[in-house]
Symmetry: D3
Subunit: 250 residues, 6 copies
């Protein structure tokens, strides 16, 4: 089975970057993946990326070495199964708040005995190889987002869910839920303390930690702080630079 | 933030009409929206409108002043979140029967503290403006359908769910559930009494009431009865007029 | 091979009606085809119907007995070939003005020796049967639109193009080209004379004549006048009735 | 209402074959359906078939007599409702393990009083006829997959769920769940015994039994054993024959 | 009819900017159009934008005031007609080299008597208004690209083609054709002289001139030089900034 | 620039096989490409593959080493340009019959000075590398089909068209045009002589020869005869094997 490059990087002590994709297009996905990011995340929650677009983007990313991750819209087992069968090497679920929710999520994403994922990897066996079923549980990344006050309260128990690989911080929702500003690249002490708490909980449980960042500098700081996976570029953000250009033609 | 024209109409004592869209096409959606309806509802429950079609139709409707509402297929939080992030100014959930179900629905549709909707409005901030997150809770309409015997029994409690804006009558399902005929434009006294009950429950709770009608005359009567939102035109119904034309060529 | 019902009707002296499709949707196409029209025309010229939509609509129409016709956007041989390979039982080309253009059109639509259509009927052999190649030339309808002053001047020669089956009047363009109003259901004597001229030229050459009408009454009159195929219903036109409904809610 | 050919076959003592579709294409679906299979199953669980593809494939299959079945991705009521409204004459849910899950599934698939399916059959009434709502409960097939150890333990109770029509064996998952090999065409005694158990439970409860097979021989054997519906051909499997051809050009 | 904002700007002596769209997505198109550019060009020549994507992008751009222009892939009359019927307020044809080619192009884009465009503006009359046919010839922009040695030689005659509105410089192709480097933002004296020649030819013929630029500075310089329409931002170029970001994580 | 594996094979004296794709699906394309064929041809002429499907299939094939070729529907320059810009490493035009047609075809497919292809390789530079424009003329394959009596008469002159790389035999059309049976794997002496004539003409002109075959045996024979590229597998043909399977369940 094709190894998961993120796991290989982490074994050698490296930290990995991540590119966030929100434009529903195989063309833009392939452009971004060719820039050399360690991994990409296709966002099916907040971005207008439907099933067909996500599938097409997974194929496009597969023309490169970037590890494809998909964030599903909710903790719905059919959706989790499908993106894995399409060849995602990581699946992220938003807003995990309880151990029960995390167990359900992991159960949908793992083959027995870790979970109850049904067997018949459609495109995944093309991308990964014929031994996909045997090795998927040790290869695919299962990632829970911690982004609410309740999730934070349960973070240690969640982190110890068997079969879970990573806690991923959603800083905007986390800030909002803590009564702070909803924004990335948080510097508010309350939110920063929460972020640190999530990072520690992940590492204490022997799993990885990740975070969404809106700037390279903040992303680099998070890597230094110990985050294993750091989202540092965002397709929609890059298009947003057009607004500054527009200003030159006022 | 772009105001919700329905709320503005209601503040001035007007009642609003609604156009129901079931053909999965941006072209037909734009044709209908250009006829000047106060609002349109894109039906993802019974119509063959998938995510991509609904998104395209929301964009098409956005070229006009018609307020875009989406009826989702079920009370699934990912689906509710997504249509709002795509710019729907109202979200309708079919077959709400209990307070618990209604709370879950509202929770998926409202930002904290009213609910737990995750923050990152993709297209919605283009349609609505940069202050979308701050004002969405007071702008977006959250609409529960009452269309079963059980829903009717719980209608008062449902109507008082914090964050809910409207009860919307589905007359066919309601009739069927009450052991009457499954049809719109009900005149059966049992069903009419149920419809009146829903209207009163909504207004008693300080929220709006809506109903699906199959004819202009019935729709006008419902407006006079007090319904705030009345569906009075249906794209598939208009196409159905072709059958009468066909009869001229027998 | 599945017979062409239009040819069978005409052999028994009947005249046929036609339903015009402009909404790019298999759903609306199937709704219309189920109304019992003798034939439908999928318009790829003025309607926003691309290749994928036209293909999907051809499949949808194939669930009924309506004869599927496609109007291509221009006299481009690849486009003509493709819609026939997808199972269209008639192909219409807009704005044929010269014998040379008509020969090129027929050449793209007919197998040798009548033309040079390449052999490999993809979906057509599913719809029509395994003997498609042998019988397509006698089954498929090849229809040239006469809708300009120049086309009118050359109408007799065009009508005699070997392999052509029908002249079809485009009344709006014809009126405009003759310096009259661009509208259907023409009553302007100059345009009516031109329409009569086209009808006569077709029948004199032993081929069929068709015309686009905007109302049942005009369509019935054209049938009585001798037109073999009369478009009498239009999906977009049916949706347009919503505007009148809207007026009741002013 | 168009009868369900599978039910008609079974009434006369025949057993039915089934073609499994995993390629998201109306073209390949129509090719396969034209081969004369009694039924086809469109797989939305493991195959990359999204809503739009499933709808297009249902239309394509409707050009033939093959009974269209859809396997949904999970026991999500909105998904179940939608494929039925699109005209599926059978709906299959993967991995039913408890009576509660089965009741929820049947409840989403049946109109009252057997269930709570909402009324407004979009395309289904085109495919089936105007009396769809009245006859759907006795026409449409509701099929639960038994493919886990837990499902096996509850198989008798599941089989007696009112409104359920069939138990369908997923042999790969069943083998895996029982600690045996995950593969079709099982000969392992433990798995074979489980398969027999499911067959008996179905028939004892007065409902049908089905099974997925990877070869004609195994399928024929399962028919002789008593299975009422036997999947015996798989589009992706047919494409797989290309690998053998490739070997000739080494 | 909705006026063409570019024509209005030019009447008041202003020069206009343009945003180039190559990502086949209504979402990215709407993001870019919301940045306030005077116009956008949807590129169907070099970008992977097919008919359906172009249509969806035109609708998305219509939610803003940006004037929508489409560059077609070639001088094919069906393609030119279609993008205008979909509501493009400008159509650009690549590589016009002769007066004959330019006449054919204009003929496809203009209603009689200036050309032979067929009448039935599908979506265009929604975007523009019911008087579209009467005013389209004076509203829609018809733009010929001059980007080869041969086109340069014929530039004066091309510029005087009745019904043509603008010459638009394609600097990469122009440089390559002149034996210079194929790149935008040309400073090579031979290419600069050619660009100046095109600008002068356009203005001498009383029509407008435009040019594709890869940077704001070059674009501002071209505006000062006299170009009426200057492409100054490119969606794919903005995504390309990710490569620099990537370098920070080496 | 990524080398063209076909050219590399041929330099070392090897002959190459080819897989023909007619199902419009990235999934089936990726399945077939993973079988190890030297090249694949995506057929946009007879198969229902539109622009979006062809693009998606090119991306899917790019996840393997198979060289992607596209057959366009006709000798239309916009279509030829687009598939090359999407990353096709070979473009095939059907039914080339004259030197003039061949020159137009090559002109659309080659950059100056060999042709007039416009410069801006969208996806091609992702697939091939940043030096695409400089090396495309020596990398991309330009392939003319000879499949008619007229093409056969002009075969020597066509073969000498500068910039042309291959003559490809379409045996069904060739047989039909010569008054023989329209079928692949020809054994009719008249058609075989014509096939030999095309092979010799290609090699005499220093270019390659290819042929479409329906069986492995015929394909192997053609390789031995000297054909450089031999189509030996066809996705639709593989699905056709289902018909034989169906016979076992009669």
């Amino acid at each position: 089975m094709r190894p998961n490059r993120l796991r290989e990087m982490w074994k050698t002590g490296k930290r990995a970057n991540n590119c966030w994709l929100s434009i529903p297009s195989a063309f833009s996905a392939e452009i971004m993946a060719h820039q050399g990011w360690d991994s990409v995340t296709i966002d099916m929650q907040h971005a207008p990326i439907d099933d067909a677009a996500a599938y097409a983007m997974l194929v496009a990313v597969s023309t490169t070495d970037a590890v494809p991750i998909v964030r599903v819209a909710s903790n719905e087992p059919g959706a989790i199964l499908r993106v894995l069968d399409w060849g995602a090497y990581g699946v992220m679920c938003p807003t995990i708040e309880t151990v029960e929710a995390c167990r359900a999520f992991v159960g949908a994403a793992r083959y027995a005995p870790l979970g109850a994922r049904s067997i018949s990897p459609g495109r995944a066996s093309l991308y990964a190889g014929p031994d996909y079923v045997a090795k998927a549980n040790e290869t695919v990344l299962v990632i829970a987002q911690i982004e609410t006050k309740l999730g934070l309260e349960n973070v240690d128990a969640i982190a110890h869910t068997p079969g879970l690989d990573m806690l991923f911080v959603g800083p905007s929702d986390l800030g909002h839920s803590l009564g702070r500003e909803a924004k990335p690249d948080q510097t508010d002490p309350v939110v920063v303390a929460a972020i640190d708490r999530i990072l520690e909980a992940a590492h204490a449980a022997g799993i990885y930690a990740g975070i969404w960042c809106a700037s390279a500098d903040y992303g680099l700081a998070m890597m230094q702080k110990g985050f294993d996976l750091t989202t540092v570029v965002y397709d929609r953000g890059l298009l947003g630079a057009g607004a500054a250009l527009r200003g030159k033609f006022a």
